[in-house]
């Protein structure tokens, strides 16, 4: 396992603030760092600002009328927050968006090929990577000629991840890969993430609701609530934290709680003192 302290820092987010539509303040000073070759998880409830953080990094906020008003985002020592998304992709940072966002009218294979849009290393190399993606996701190979709009949720998620891999990224920002997927698939996708991480040396920053899985695969984690980082630490440590256990893993002192027993009133989180 990676030790965050010793490896090179790839991406650093310093105290950023994001405002939508000039009035809605969503991120209120978020800082985090992603080490080279690691899987870093960004956890937190709905509306905590995970997606916003990822989009701030990949510079996709602009088209949603959001902007980073404070702080800085540094990738390999270089300030990147004024680049356009394409330039960032060329630098090796690519995002897999929440909700998959496949190109519905393109076939699966065409979708994958668009992932290689920024690449200049020739047809053969792209062809090779296509095979690599098909190796990781055999299911995609079966459906390569189908229009993405008609494939199932899981296939679309695979397609989106595969598409990102086609850009030969160094860092992948992965937003909620597990959403809406069957348990087996979730496991499978995380396995693939792990395999890609280890096999190709790609670093991941992933936003997840499914804390359970995320903390099993990640090395380091940040917990975000209402636009602030409220806790961070090694994944293993976080798993043992009692608050995380209760609120994110659904564990009570005596094992997993039943969803039938949640009607009793809830406790307050300790960090919201």
């Amino acid at each position: 396992m990676l030790d965050a302290g010793r490896t090179e820092t790839l991406l650093e987010v310093n105290n950023i603030e994001v405002i939508y539509n000039h009035v809605i303040l969503v991120l209120k000073g978020v800082s985090l760092s992603v080490p080279l070759g690691g899987i870093t998880a960004l956890l937190g409830g709905n509306g905590a600002g995970k997606t916003t953080t990822l989009k701030a990094i990949s510079n996709l906020l602009h088209s949603e009328r959001g902007e980073v008003t404070k702080g800085s985002i540094v990738y390999r020592g270089e300030r990147v927050q004024d680049l356009d998304p394409a330039a960032l992709v060329r630098k090796g940072v690519i995002q897999v968006m929440e909700g998959r966002h496949c190109f519905g009218h393109l076939t699966i294979e065409e979708n994958l090929l668009t992932g290689a849009f920024t690449r200049r290393d020739g047809k053969a190399a792209i062809e090779r990577d296509l095979e690599m993606v098909y190796d990781y996701f055999p299911r995609l190979k079966e459906r390569r000629k189908s229009q993405a709009g008609y494939t199932s949720g899981g296939e679309q998620q695979m397609c989106a991840i595969g598409r990102a891999l086609m850009s030969r990224p160094e860092t992948v920002l992965l937003d909620e890969p597990s959403m809406g997927l069957a348990p087996q698939l979730v496991e499978q996708i995380f396995q693939i993430v792990k395999a890609v991480n280890e096999g190709e040396g790609v670093s991941f920053l992933l936003a997840e609701q499914n804390t359970n899985v995320a903390l099993r695969y990640a090395h380091y984690g940040y917990i975000l609530e209402s636009g602030r980082v409220v806790m961070d630490g090694l994944a293993a440590d976080l798993r043992e934290n009692p608050d995380v256990k209760e609120f994110y893993l659904g564990m009570s002192d005596d094992g997993r709680k039943s969803f039938r027993d949640v009607r009793s009133y809830r406790r307050r989180k300790r960090w919201l003192a």
């Binding site: 709905n46 069957a182 809830r266």
Partner: protein
């Protein structure tokens, strides 16, 4: 596998309203058959999304549908709510065969639903969204509405009261006037539920109500579902991928895979069904 299930099946007498029902593990009385799907097949061009599936839904129960992605779960829900018309098969509701219907007619029969990919009316406030759930209960004529007088106004106030109850129940008072476009995902899901509940349906279809939620939020959602089922006796059909939720909440589970039914029965039984483990769960939960 069949032995246990037969107890729950109701396919002996055609169109019979009800037999006696059954008692759940935690002691609730489940009524007779509310809806029965018989040999449903659904095709899209060459693709067979659902293949000859039959099952029933009983009054007051929480009926889960699970299965891998693309198994045809949402399509099944769409058939129930009239959005898709099955290529083959019949649908019996409250003891009568349901003729082909427009979705809005189905909704008016008391079947409300939520959607897998949130389908709220983004341009409206939370309150208005929930009010749309009550449209089926509002009958004022256009003149009355234009003048804001008489029936239109009375209805507006009466239905607003109902809606406020739902809002209180789901604890979304604070965002009443917020445009839904600005809400985070979890709250949107809750608003969607509110909209469905506002219709006071006798049957509620929930398509992955907890996708994209963390445990805390899932707990909330579970609480709402249980309360609705409990307090109003609403029958609930639930599609969900979180096995914890499914196992804890549902009374009976249908398992689908590639458009076929591979299991049907109480949660405990289903989770030990080898077909289900192979196709869906991966490991026993």
């Amino acid at each position: 596998m069949d032995g246990a299930m037969r107890t729950y099946r109701n396919d002996e007498k055609e169109g019979a309203v009800s037999d006696t029902g059954y008692i759940t593990a935690d002691g609730r009385q489940i009524g007779g058959t509310l809806m029965e799907l018989r040999n449903i097949t659904l095709k899209f061009g060459g693709v067979v999304a659902i293949k000859d599936i039959s099952f029933d839904i009983r009054e007051g129960e929480i009926r889960a549908i699970i299965g891998p992605n693309g198994a045809g779960k949402s399509s099944m829900l769409n058939i129930i709510s009239g959005f898709y018309t099955p290529s083959e098969g019949e649908l019996w509701y409250k003891g009568a065969k349901r003729p082909p219907m427009k979705p809005y007619e189905v909704a008016r029969m008391g079947i409300a639903r939520t959607f897998q990919n949130i389908a709220l009316f983004e341009g409206m406030s939370v309150l208005d969204n929930v009010m749309t759930g009550r449209l089926t209960h509002m009958k004022a004529g256009i003149a009355s509405q234009a003048l804001w007088w008489g029936r239109a106004r009375d209805e507006e106030i009466a239905n607003r009261a109902v809606v406020e109850k739902v809002i209180d129940f789901l604890e979304i008072q604070a965002i009443r006037k917020t445009p839904v476009g600005r809400l985070p995902y979890g709250l949107k899901k809750r608003v969607e539920l509110a909209r469905a509940l506002a219709a006071e349906p006798s049957m509620l279809l929930l398509d992955e109500p907890m996708a994209g939620m963390n445990v805390e939020e899932k707990e909330d959602m579970s609480r709402f579902i249980l309360d609705v089922n409990d307090e109003f006796g609403t029958t609930i059909v639930l599609i969900e991928h979180d096995m914890g939720v499914v196992m804890d909440l549902s009374d009976r589970v249908v398992v689908m895979d590639y458009g076929k039914k591979i299991g049907d029965g109480p949660p405990d039984e289903v989770r030990n069904n080898q077909d289900v483990i192979d196709a869906y769960l991966g490991v026993a939960h």
